[in-house]
């Protein structure tokens, strides 16, 4: 009896120190650097929608996961094969319609609820996030850099993009290299950039700021270096920036693009213009020509 008491005390102590460790870890993980958790710190409506789904799904599944872990601990403690354990023992009891209905039923309900919201938001995310006049930016992933073209003003950048805050931005994505994925966690989740395809993705930044972006699909040797910034500015400043670029930066020639396309890592670059129809040409030559109808509407917008 004495021995058992000692054992119990020890486990209690172990448990409480484990608890303390967990408690210490929580603030470290959550508050200490919440702004580091880019996915949990949305800066625009698209990321916000996705964030809400993340929270909702996490809450719904805890309804199953927490009881499972609780039950496990309870059962293992209660039904140990120890001499003198007087908990009930029913070796032949292996069936219960009522219990089975409960644990088929609860997950079905949870998944049904989650499904409704999932479908709603999957459809919602294909639409522009607000009704302001949108801006279009064409994105091309290269080995191992990002090129951004602004069809409305004719300027182009490499490894960073400027966008007006508070305005929906239509990113049109392609690749002139292996398939990558365009991801700016604080603005919203990713879409693949594929050779011969022009994909559309909507993002919007609510406030001016600099948002981290990175390629998310492996493309070979220096993939790790495919970082870029998305810089949101007040619409007036964005206009001003475009004007300045037009006036002061070099043009991009066909030759420049050829060089840019060579595998390698480069610094940020800015161009006042680019060869006309460059984006369309990239899409067409990599196989877009075989799927013209699909892309016509995006390319001509």
């Amino acid at each position: 009896m004495n021995e058992q008491g000692v054992e119990r005390d020890e486990t209690k102590m172990r448990r409480s120190s484990l608890g303390k460790m967990l408690l210490l870890a929580v603030p470290f993980l959550l508050t200490g650097c919440r702004d580091r958790f880019l996915v949990l710190d949305p800066a625009g409506p698209v990321a916000e929608t996705e964030y809400n789904m993340i929270v909702l799904s996490a809450v719904l599944i805890s309804i199953v996961v927490i009881p499972v872990i609780g039950l496990l601990i309870y059962i293992v403690r209660k039904y140990r094969d120890r001499p003198g354990n007087d908990a009930p023992y029913q070796p032949e009891w292996a069936d219960s319609k009522r219990l089975e209905i409960v644990w088929w039923g609860i997950p079905i309900v949870i998944i049904a609820v989650l499904s409704v919201f999932t479908v709603r938001d999957t459809f919602a995310l294909t639409q522009p996030p607000s009704d302001q006049e949108p801006v279009t930016i064409q994105v091309t992933s290269l080995d191992w850099k990002w090129m951004f073209q602004y069809p409305e003003s004719g300027v182009a950048t490499v490894n960073y993009a400027k966008i007006p805050a508070g305005v929906p931005v239509q990113f049109v994505l392609t690749s002139d290299a292996p398939m990558n994925s365009f991801w700016v966690p604080q603005l919203g989740g990713q879409t693949y950039t594929m050779p011969g395809m022009a994909m559309r993705m909507w993002l919007q930044a609510d406030q001016p700021g600099t948002y981290y972006g990175h390629g998310a699909n492996f493309t070979g040797k220096e993939f790790a270096k495919m970082e870029f910034d998305v810089i949101a500015e007040k619409p007036s400043e964005f206009k001003e920036w475009t004007k300045q670029v037009k006036e002061s930066k070099p043009k991009m020639t066909k030759e420049d693009y050829k060089q840019l396309k060579e595998p390698g890592v480069v610094e940020e670059k800015t161009f006042s213009s680019y060869p006309s129809d460059l984006f369309k040409e990239i899409v067409m030559k990599n196989g877009g020509i075989y799927r013209k109808e699909e892309h016509q509407h995006i390319l001509n917008d």
Binding site: F37, L38, V39, E50, M53, I54, S57, A58, I61, V65, V68, I69, L71, L72, V76, Y79, R80, D81, Q90, P91, E92, W93, A94, E100, W103, W104, I106, P107, I111, L114, S115, T118, T122, F123, L125, T126, P178, M179, S181, W183, P185, G188, G189, T191, Y192, G196, M197, R200, Y212, H214, A216, N217, F218, G220, K221, F223, A224, N286, G287, Y290
Partner: protein, 645 residues
């Protein structure tokens, strides 16, 4: 092209391989073991020996894949570290992923299939013993081809998913990708054959009285897994074959130019790839079902539900593959369908978890090693399944995809599910395989280290994903706040590594000091394999048992007590056994030669291999192999040596 490598790390590996090979050859020659190796192992068609060979390969591959993992974790312990360069890092994560799924998990499962299924259903061997040997040797030579790539010409470096156009000649001109394609192709043929073999074995060779609904749950899980293998692997075969054609003869199935379409590869790959994760997890479910019932001294709860959920999962696993590329821009309708279908898989999975819990409820739980791994599996897998559901929510997946959150998810289900399951199975059936038990104490240390290491390694990776870290980065900038968590994760990986080494130590120590299993039934088991002596004689059953219900052996023990194991000497009949054959080995060797030739585009060598395959097939077709009869006298000798007469 000179094959001798120029880089120190590769040279060191090559030297190590050569030294180990010389060591093995020397030892075998010195102890005059070549004949023994050939007669007892290389030519064997005995499912138990084939199972043991699979097991040895799986453990070796776990070691190699584990070393890969530690190298990666060292590189990631600090930002901008120069331990591995980009090329090496990319090769290593590619080989790590491919090895762990195809050359570690698959053979580990096949080890369990082979060792357990015929014994559990009361059969003397599998349906096609010769084909079984072919499967093993194809796997073996496929794995060998894959493993030599690092030192001969360069390992594949396009990730285990090997997406074109990155994996096309334009972007990956070296032999690495061809190694990947050919080795997976060769071992894949073996896997399909294993799927067919065990499906037929289970459907056709059960002992009299064992109706489907009396079958042990592990055998059910193997049946479900085999159905998935048979329908899923052909998609991989097609994907690999088409990509090989692109690379070797210049077709344009998946190229960027000339009308190729890389998206087709991704669909084919995941039409196999998603079912593959269920191929590997279903047998683990089976192991846990056996273990939980044995160590709770209670019948498995909700048997019918368990069967239904296995079958539901295996069917549903074909309807979810698009969740691996929600971000490829499919329409909202397509993404919605696949999102809901993926989440739905969680339902039967949840049901299984509750049934396991209620098997323990009102039972008597013994915390032996197999049961410990089972208990650790439940919370780990519940969390991993939960994050799976989060990933299946398409809008959320746009944020998680290809981040460390995804990495954490699938390691949690693959390690917490498949590896824990296979380790539980290994501990559970070890005495049956080798006739002695593994010492508990070292095993408990290994268990705790491995588990703690697991959480320390992978929980931070969820956080890293939420912080925006993508997978497959060989280095990362220091200003992102990722440093600390990466270091913690590396520490965890090393703790797991120590856990693995302790398991190896436990096995080596137990060979000498483990308790001999003289009863054949060390755990007080419930299914037929425990009615046999350990290790099991090559013909398995002297008399095929008569099955009267589920948990057949448990019922026999209840009915006959101590008499249950003994066989009346007079009732022994001659037993028909299959002959050994060297052809499966030789044919697979020819596959290896052909594959090696194709990797280096040496078509003459490939042709030699091809002709070799043809000759072996031809010889087999002409062979008159009736097997042989084992005489009652011989059987009596073996049985009385085991104290069974």
């Amino acid at each position: 092209m000179s094959l001798w490598p120029t880089e120190p790390m590769v040279q060191a590996s090559l030297v190590a391989i050569i030294l180990v090979s010389i060591g093995i050859i020397f030892t075998l020659t010195y102890f005059k073991k070549w004949g023994w190796l050939w007669r007892e192992w290389i030519t064997t068609v005995d499912h138990k020996k084939i199972g043991i060979m699979y097991l040895i390969c799986a453990l070796l591959m776990l070691f190699r894949g584990g070393v890969d993992a530690l190298l990666m974790r060292i590189q990631l312990a600090f930002p901008d570290l120069q331990f591995l360069d980009a090329q090496h890092y990319n090769e290593i994560f590619t080989t790590h992923g491919t090895i762990m799924i195809l050359f570690m998990a698959m053979p580990f499962l096949f080890a369990m299939f082979n060792i357990v299924v015929p014994l559990q259903i009361g059969a003397r061997d599998v349906a096609f013993p010769y084909l079984n040997a072919v499967s093993f040797w194809l796997f073996f030579f496929g794995a060998l081809l894959f493993n030599i790539s690092f030192v001969l010409g360069g390992a594949p470096d396009a990730g285990w998913v090997n997406y074109p156009p990155l994996s096309e000649l334009t972007f990956s001109p070296g032999p690495g990708i061809d190694y990947y394609l050919l080795s997976l192709q060769i071992s894949g043929i073996g896997s399909i054959a294993t799927g067919i073999n065990f499906l037929v074995t289970i459907l056709k060779m059960r002992a009299p009285g064992m109706s489907m609904m009396r079958m042990p749950m592990f055998s059910w899980s193997v049946l479900a897994s085999c159905i998935v293998i048979i329908f899923a692997f052909p998609a991989l075969t097609a994907a690999l074959a088409l990509l090989s054609l692109d690379r070797i003869v210049g077709t344009h199935f998946f190229t960027m130019l000339h009308g190729g379409n890389p998206m087709m590869y991704m669909n084919l790959f995941w039409i196999w790839g998603h079912p593959e994760v269920y191929i590997v997890i279903l047998p683990a479910y089976g192991v846990f079902s056996e273990v939980v019932s044995t160590f709770s001294k209670k019948r498995l709860f909700g048997y019918k539900s368990m069967v239904a959920s296995l079958l539901l999962i295996s069917v549903a696993s074909y309807l979810v593959w698009v969740h691996h590329f929600f971000t490829m821009g499919s329409s909202a309708g397509v993404n919605s369908f696949f999102a809901v279908a993926s989440m739905a898989i969680a339902i039967p999975t949840g049901v299984k978890v509750f049934n396991w819990l209620f098997t323990m409820f009102r039972g008597r739980i013994r915390l032996s090693l197999p049961m410990l791994w089972m208990l650790a599996f439940i919370p780990t897998f519940a969390l991993g399944g939960a994050t799976g559901v989060m990933l299946a929510v398409a809008p959320a997946d746009y944020q998680f995809h290809n981040s460390y959150f995804l990495i954490a998810h699938f390691h949690q289900v693959l390690i917490g599910g498949v590896v824990y399951g296979m380790l539980a199975g290994l501990y559970y059936w070890w005495p049956k395989m080798f006739g002695f038990q593994l010492v508990e104490k070292l095993g408990k240390w290994a268990f705790w280290l491995f588990n703690i290491g697991f959480y320390v390694c992978f929980m931070p990776q969820y956080a890293l994903g939420l912080m925006g870290m993508t997978r497959r980065m060989y280095e990362y900038p220091s200003g992102m706040g990722w440093n600390g968590l990466n270091q913690v994760s590396t520490v965890g990986a090393f703790i797991m590594g120590i856990g693995f080494l302790l398991i190896v130590a436990q096995i080596l120590y137990s060979i000498r000091h483990g308790k001999r299993d003289t009863t054949g039934d060390p755990w007080n088991g419930r299914t037929l394999e425990w009615s046999l002596p350990s290790p099991v004689p090559h013909y398995n059953f002297v008399r095929i048992p008569e099955v009267k219900g589920r948990d057949a052996w448990w019922m026999m023990k209840q009915e006959k007590g101590d008499e249950a194991t003994s066989t009346p000497s007079s009732s022994i009949q001659p037993i028909h056994m299959p002959n050994s054959s060297g052809l499966p080995f030789l044919m697979s060797l020819a596959f290896f030669v052909a594959g090696f030739g194709l990797v280096f585009h040496q078509f003459a060598l490939a042709a030699v291999g091809g002709i070799g395959i043809g000759i072996c097939l031809f010889l087999r077709s002409l062979e008159q192999d009736e097997g042989y009869m084992l005489s009652p006298k011989e059987i009596r000798r073996i049985e009385s040596a085991q104290g069974r007469l």
